[in-house]
């Protein structure tokens, strides 16, 4: 094969991979958004477990339907939770139950959820992610009493 033909084959192959990936992305957009949202939450849990262990700080995730807010416990004259950042999921993704809360203490993620002003901790607790466009598509993260958790 001549060098020119080789180059043409390589460029063609690269272009084909890009086009096919793009088409699959469009076809599986719902599934991609769902997986991405779960991954973003899981990685953040890993990150804040590590930060709470090594910095000795306390952090909290408060989930709403369309995203979640991250708070850090500020120890000044009086302790207060200060918002660090707010994460919004893709528009087609919804989390439930609303009021789900994660507290990070000494490298552990403690799960609970608030219902009618009361904190309910019945383990195992699961945080569910669902696609609004395709309600059959659901994923979740399960939390156990001892602080362990895993994506479902």
């Amino acid at each position: 094969m001549s060098p020119l033909a080789k180059r043409q084959v390589l460029i063609g192959a690269a272009f084909s991979v890009l086009v096919i990936t793009g088409l699959i992305f469009l076809w599986r957009k719902d599934s991609y958004d769902l997986n991405r949202s779960v991954r973003q939450v899981c990685l953040r849990i890993l990150v804040y477990e590590e930060l709470s262990l090594h910095r000795g700080s306390r952090f909290r995730f408060d989930f709403q339907k369309n995203g979640f807010k991250i708070f850090a416990l500020h120890r000044g004259e009086k302790s207060e939770w200060r918002e660090v950042s707010a994460i919004t999921h893709a528009p087609s993704i919804e989390t439930s139950p609303a009021g789900f809360r994660l507290d990070f203490v000494q490298g552990r993620a403690e799960a609970s959820f608030l219902s009618e002003g009361r904190t309910i901790s019945r383990f195992p607790l699961s945080l569910r992610f669902s696609s609004l466009r395709n309600p059959d598509r659901q994923k979740g993260i399960i939390f156990f009493e001892d602080g362990h958790w895993r994506p479902l």
Partner: protein, 473 residues
């Protein structure tokens, strides 16, 4: 079996022939096979754990100017395909998988190829390819979520393609430029590396350069290489200016310098700038800890990342200028950490698989002990990184591209040392900064030893007798 004419038909013997491709590439395939089998063993026996430094690399959209985006892109690309095809929910293990089986394998091939170029021997390249995979200090970082393995891949690619410019490959300057730009986006330490490479080439080819031949042949490709880097750096700096009001690659420098200045932060001498003195007071209150200083200015004064970085750089510069002796006194310690051979980074992970098989752990332990002895003894260290490479380069100065490549390697090794040591005194982090050049240190060392042994074994030519010599007469 009888044939139509009654004779016996002899079935032709099936002769197995090794395809030409395999015959030509047997050494490379052997390196790949050993690298792959070793990595399968590691992957099955290692549990990935986060380092505290890993936590900032996961979310590309939330990247801050203190970090460059190279490693973010790598992780995001891996996760993109995982999100698209829902392969696994073990996200850290997925990153480790790609670091081991993609970057690690590329690194093995790069070391093999570069070793072949520097020694002009396939046998030596094979040995180096195999030895690379037994250096746990380097391979160990393939199962840690940090930038080292990617940096090594990009550094190796930069060296390979930069070397190919002088073999006359037309596309080489473009690939070398892109690899170099990706490298400095992964680790800003390498921002000025492209200039060092070009300067060393000019030094090596000075005579050709003066005579004009060099300019005719290589001026254009080198210009392309320089331009791609400059455009890349300029573009990324402009993006930072627009987004963060900060012109530059990264705001990491003041934080790195703070590892020096927190040792003498209490010796700050107030100057005429009242505002700076006020910031110095805050820095002293947090004992010179740069990330606590950032937190204070961000929380109490709502300052931006760029403003904090500027203030911290000013404070650090003043502290170093006013206390230069204190700073200089700490530099040898930083250098000692850089060339240490401690197991801080891999302690947790090496136990998990070295205990599984004596067959695998024996060569790892042998080379660990050997390299630890080489690096921890100051005399052998000087021979390893300075004397032997210098003698090698001088003795091969007329050896063409191989000597040029050896000189470039030495340039990269010492550039990395100087930047890492002069700009930061981060203890075990300094040791980590050595990882991307560690295979090149060993490559030049082994190539020099190989060259000297080959020279000794080569039969010396007898000098031709001069027909007009008095002996003849």
């Amino acid at each position: 079996m009888k044939t139509a004419t009654g004779g016996r038909f002899r079935e032709p013997k099936v002769r197995w022939k090794i395809p030409g491709f395999l015959q030509r590439r047997w050494a490379l395939l052997l390196v790949l096979a050993s690298a792959l089998s070793l990595r399968i063993f590691i992957f099955l026996n290692v549990t990935p754990v986060l380092q505290t430094d890993s936590v900032g690399y996961f979310f590309l959209q939330e990247s801050e100017p203190v970090r460059t985006p190279g490693y973010y892109f790598f992780m995001e690309a891996v996760h993109f395909f995982n999100d698209l095809f829902a392969i696994t929910s073990q996200y850290l293990r997925l990153i480790i998988f790609f670091q081991l089986f993609l970057l690690g394998m590329i690194n093995s091939v790069l070391i093999f190829t570069l070793a072949k170029k520097i020694s002009l021997s396939e046998g030596f390249a094979l040995a180096m390819g195999l030895l690379y995979n037994l250096d746990l200090f380097v391979v160990g970082f393939e199962f840690v979520v940090l930038t080292e393995t990617l940096t090594l891949t990009l550094l190796g690619l930069t060296m390979l393609f930069y070397g190919k410019i002088f073999e006359g490959v037309r596309t080489a300057p473009y690939w070398a430029g892109l690899a170099s730009f990706a490298l400095l986006l992964t680790r800003p330490t390498y921002t000025w590396l492209f200039l060092i490479l070009v300067a060393l080439t000019l030094l090596f080819r000075w005579r050709q350069f003066v005579k004009g031949f060099f300019r005719q042949s290589y001026a254009r490709p080198l210009l392309i290489f320089l331009l791609i880097n400059l455009i890349g750096i300029g573009g990324w700096s402009l993006r930072n200016k627009r987004r963060f009001d900060f012109f530059g690659i990264s705001t990491i420098l003041p934080y790195q310098l703070s590892y020096y200045t927190w040792n003498f932060v209490e010796k700050y001498r107030p100057g005429s700038d009242e505002e700076l003195n006020e910031y110095a007071r805050i820095l002293q209150e947090v004992n010179g800890q740069p990330y606590d200083f950032r937190w204070r200015l961000r929380e109490d004064r709502q300052m931006s990342e760029a403003e904090i970085s500027k203030v911290l750089l000013k404070l650090n510069r003043k502290l170093i200028e006013d206390n230069f002796r204190e700073y200089a006194r700490l530099v040898p310690g930083a250098a000692a950490y850089y060339y240490d051979y401690s197991w801080y980074w891999l302690r947790q992970r090496q136990r998990s698989f070295l205990g599984k098989s004596k067959l695998v752990s024996a060569p790892f332990r042998f080379f660990r002990d050997f390299y630890a002895r080489l690096f921890q003894n100051p005399y052998s260290l000087i021979f390893l990184v300075a004397v032997i490479p210098a003698v090698f380069i001088i003795s091969r100065r007329k050896g063409g591209e191989a000597a040029h490549l050896a000189l470039l390697f030495e340039g990269v090794i010492h550039y990395n040392f100087l930047v890492s040591v002069i700009l930061t005194n981060a203890g075990v982090n300094n040791l980590r900064f050595r990882v991307p050049v560690e295979p090149f240190i060993l490559l030049v060392f082994y190539a020099a030893v190989f060259h000297f042994v080959r020279q000794l074994r080569k039969p010396r030519r007898k000098p031709k007798k001069d027909v007009n010599s008095p002996e003849k007469a």
